[in-house]
């Protein structure tokens, strides 16, 4: 088995495909953080530009159809870059709004601002002429001025005090409420729902990539050995299960190396971007660009152990499954259907794992139900969604499945490898198991 392990690992690193995959993952780890950060920075700067208060030289006609007052006195003393335009306010509260009619008379040196409201939501539309002389930064800048003023008037109308206003302005969502039960539940969470979502999606994708890579290698290798009758030569020297185990162990090591290299690259990258002038750590965190998967370490060593254990069990389980499936292939034409069965199982786990929501029931499904648990159990524990007991039980279920797969392999693999059976795939495996 050791020689099979060594040979498989060597050929993996000699294979262009697998070398490229390793290099690509490292590049991904290096670039993900900076790319996400710079994209977020760009969006942030764009938003800042839009939100920046600015004036222009020209006229502004303000038609206030909203339920909230707006007086000249609220605006005339505001000091902004570019200066205030020559504005006039028309109180249109209660009147019908005909935007089209209003828009027809806008001249090139003026902007028409139409303020409407629905409940507590205020909308400000800026209308310019086709050949306007006023630059867009000025239009949006004065729009921002009006927005701030009318918002203040809205708060006054509702009766918010300054503390309430600060809360709202920092992002309090008035429509989001939780029950006491939910509140108690989320107190135990190590990371926020948003971070959990980012982490679990990232981990799900990584696990899927790794399982696909390792299982497809094992499947292809076993099929090659069977179809080329190479198996006959090899099993003279090494037992079939030792042959399969050697391959699986080699793929385990390859994926551990790949993961390690990716995370190391991501860590290096996340350390290096801090030296960028003007680095904004809050923005980096908010954008998820800190791709050192720092959430993984949120629950300490046990969390990392569980993550690594789940990954290794997943690789081993899919590896055994891929090996036995591949051994049933007798003709090249059957390879697609064999690979299809494997892919379906992986995809079910991946897609369900990706789309499970952050609820108690879903978190338990993610812990106990394979193949979903291969993708979600670790992040469930790390994020505090499930406890250590559930994690251990979930791993126990995975181990039982792995043992069952190994027993199936023990009964069927050798026979499949040497036989030219006509059926392929899962049906063939089930028939062989039923045989005495």
């Amino acid at each position: 088995m050791g020689k099979v392990f060594k040979f498989t690992l060597e050929q993996c690193f000699k294979s262009k495909t697998y070398r490229s995959a390793l290099i690509l993952m490292v590049i991904f780890g290096l670039l993900y953080g900076p790319l996400t950060y710079f994209i977020a920075l760009k969006s942030y700067e764009s938003v800042e530009k839009i939100m920046a208060q600015k004036g222009y030289e020209g006229k502004a006609v303000i038609m206030n159809y909203s339920d909230y007052p707006l007086d000249e006195a609220d605006i005339k003393d505001i000091d902004i870059e570019g200066g205030l335009p020559d504005f006039s306010i028309v109180d249109c509260k209660g009147q019908n709004l005909d935007k089209e009619a209003l828009s027809k008379d806008v001249t090139n040196d003026e902007v028409l601002y139409v303020i409407t409201s629905e409940g507590y939501t205020v909308n400000i539309d800026a209308v310019t002429s086709k050949d306007t002389e006023i630059d867009s930064a000025g239009v949006t800048g004065f729009q921002a001025v009006l927005s701030n003023v009318i918002t203040e008037n809205l708060y006054d109308t509702i009766g918010f005090n300054p503390e309430d206003r600060e809360l709202i302005q920092t992002g309090l969502n008035l429509e989001s409420t939780v029950t006491e039960e939910k509140y108690d539940e989320i107190q135990g969470h190590e990371i926020s729902s948003r971070q959990y979502s980012t982490l679990s999606n990232a981990v799900t994708i990584i696990v899927f990539l790794i399982i696909t890579l390792s299982s497809s290698y094992i499947f292809t290798s076993v099929t090659e050995e069977k179809l080329s009758k190479l198996a006959e030569t090899i099993i003279l020297s090494v037992r079939p299960l030792a042959l399969l185990t050697g391959k699986i162990l080699a793929m385990l090591l390859y994926t551990v190396i790949m993961l390690g290299a990716t995370f190391a690259a991501a860590k290096v990258s996340s350390l290096l971007i801090k030296f960028i002038p003007g680095y904004n750590s809050e923005l980096a965190l908010a954008s998820g660009s800190a791709f050192n998967l720092s959430g993984l370490s949120a629950s300490g060593i046990p969390g990392i152990i569980i993550f690594v254990l789940c990954l290794l069990i997943a690789i081993a389980s899919f590896g055994v499954f891929a090996g036995v499936l591949a051994a049933t292939i007798s003709k090249e034409e059957d390879m697609q259907s064999g690979m299809g069965s494997l892919t379906i199982v992986m995809l079910v786990g991946y897609l369900v794992g990706l789309y499970l929501t952050d609820s108690k029931v879903c978190n338990l499904i993610g812990a106990f139900v394979p193949p979903v648990s291969y993708f979600r159990l670790a992040t469930g524990y790390i994020s505090g969604r499930i406890g250590i007991v559930e994690a251990i039980l979930g791993i126990g279920i995975q181990v039982i499945i792995l043992i069952a797969l190994c027993l199936i392999a023990a009964k069927t693999y050798h026979k499949f490898l040497l036989s030219g059976n006509t059926k392929s795939g899962i049906k063939s495996i089930i028939s062989m198991i039923k045989e005495k």
Binding site: F7, K14, E224, K229, L236, S237
Partner: protein, 326 residues
């Protein structure tokens, strides 16, 4: 007794695929395991080599059960069994190591056999020019390579066959099992391999050969088993088997047409062309009667040869007879 195969039996469901096959090899040499397609040869070989579980019988080597621990076996499978996309040298090292040969000894053996079998230019491409001429036999094995390692999918079937033979020989096996060793080989390479087989016989190896090329089998083997539909229909020493059929093949070459004399003796003509006759006689008596007739009539005889049935004819006769009965 070095190799004893006794009552080998295998069944898949209700179908018996190997039905109580027995044979022995008491001294080095070649034992031929022959049979029609689907007769059970490959299954028998796999059971002998302990690759497949036996449903009955035993295989003994030097008094103990035959397995990879008790017997150093080299096996040349019928199909081309190489990883198509991996380097030849890597595979040779891998298979050698699997057979327990390591380090310098392994490299020496690979080099020895590659030269002997004429596949050196595929394994060490750096040592050869484009025309296959040896440039530098002393080039270090681990020199930085200018040419890429060759892969099996770049070789012809015949060369792949030779590479597989090389793999079978790496561990210097005591028992060699060759399944269709000459298939896919041109006459030159067939001669190379035959020479190697003869050397192995002289070196005291036990060889089990399975082949459809009867001439090649006859050239080497001393004992045979012919399988048909899971059963052994012929078993024993080849010479004895041939003698049991008697000398019935008569070859006559004359300077004139002798058809009338042949017919007069009641002899069956198989082929007759340009005064060369292949005849089937019932035995020495009939042949002598024809010769007497020709001599008495002053017919010039260039050649008159009475011989036994060929292995091919025995095979067809045995398998054909049984197929006819069924």
């Amino acid at each position: 007794m070095a190799l004893v195969v006794k009552d080998l039996f295998k069944k898949y469901g209700d179908k018996t695929v190997v039905d109580h096959i027995s044979f022995e090899m008491s001294k080095p040499g070649v034992y031929a395991l022959l049979g029609t397609n689907g007769a059970g040869k490959s299954t028998s070989i796999r059971m002998i080599l302990d690759m497949l579980e036996k449903d009955g019988g035993e295989v003994m080597w030097n008094g103990g059960p035959l397995n990879t621990a008790t017997c150093n076996v080299g096996y040349l499978a019928e199909e081309r069994g190489l990883y198509p996309k991996y380097s030849l040298l890597d595979q040779l090292k891998y298979f050698g190591e699997l057979r327990g040969v390591k380090g310098k000894e392994l490299l020496d053996k690979i080099e020895y056999w590659s030269e002997k079998l004429g596949v050196g230019e595929y394994i060490y491409p750096d040592r050869y020019d484009e025309a296959g001429n040896l440039l530098n036999p002393n080039a270090p094995r681990t020199v930085k390579k200018k040419k890429k390692d060759m892969r099996p999918d770049q070789l012809s079937k015949g060369n792949q066959q030779k590479i597989q033979f090389l793999i079978a020989m790496l561990s210097d096996p005591e028992l060699l099992v060759l399944d269709e060793p000459f298939s896919g080989l041109d006459p030159v390479n067939t001669d190379i391999l035959k020479k190697v087989v003869r050397e192995q016989i002289d070196a005291g190896k036990y060889i089990i050969m399975s082949s459809h090329q009867m001439e090649a089998v006859e050239e080497f083997c001393t004992d045979i088993t012919i399988l048909h539909r899971s059963k052994a229909v012929v078993n024993g020493n080849l010479n004895d088997i041939k003698k049991s059929y008697g000398r019935v093949n008569l070859y006559v070459k004359t300077e004139t047409d002798i058809s009338s004399y042949v017919d007069a003796c009641g002899i069956k003509t198989e082929t007759a062309k340009d005064n060369e006759y292949k005849l089937k006689v019932t035995g020495d008596e009939q042949a002598n009667a024809l010769l007497k007739s020709l001599v008495n009539n002053n017919i010039p005889v260039v050649k008159f040869e009475l011989s036994e049935l060929s292995l091919h004819e025995i095979f067809v006769r045995e398998v054909g007879d049984i197929s006819g009965e069924q």
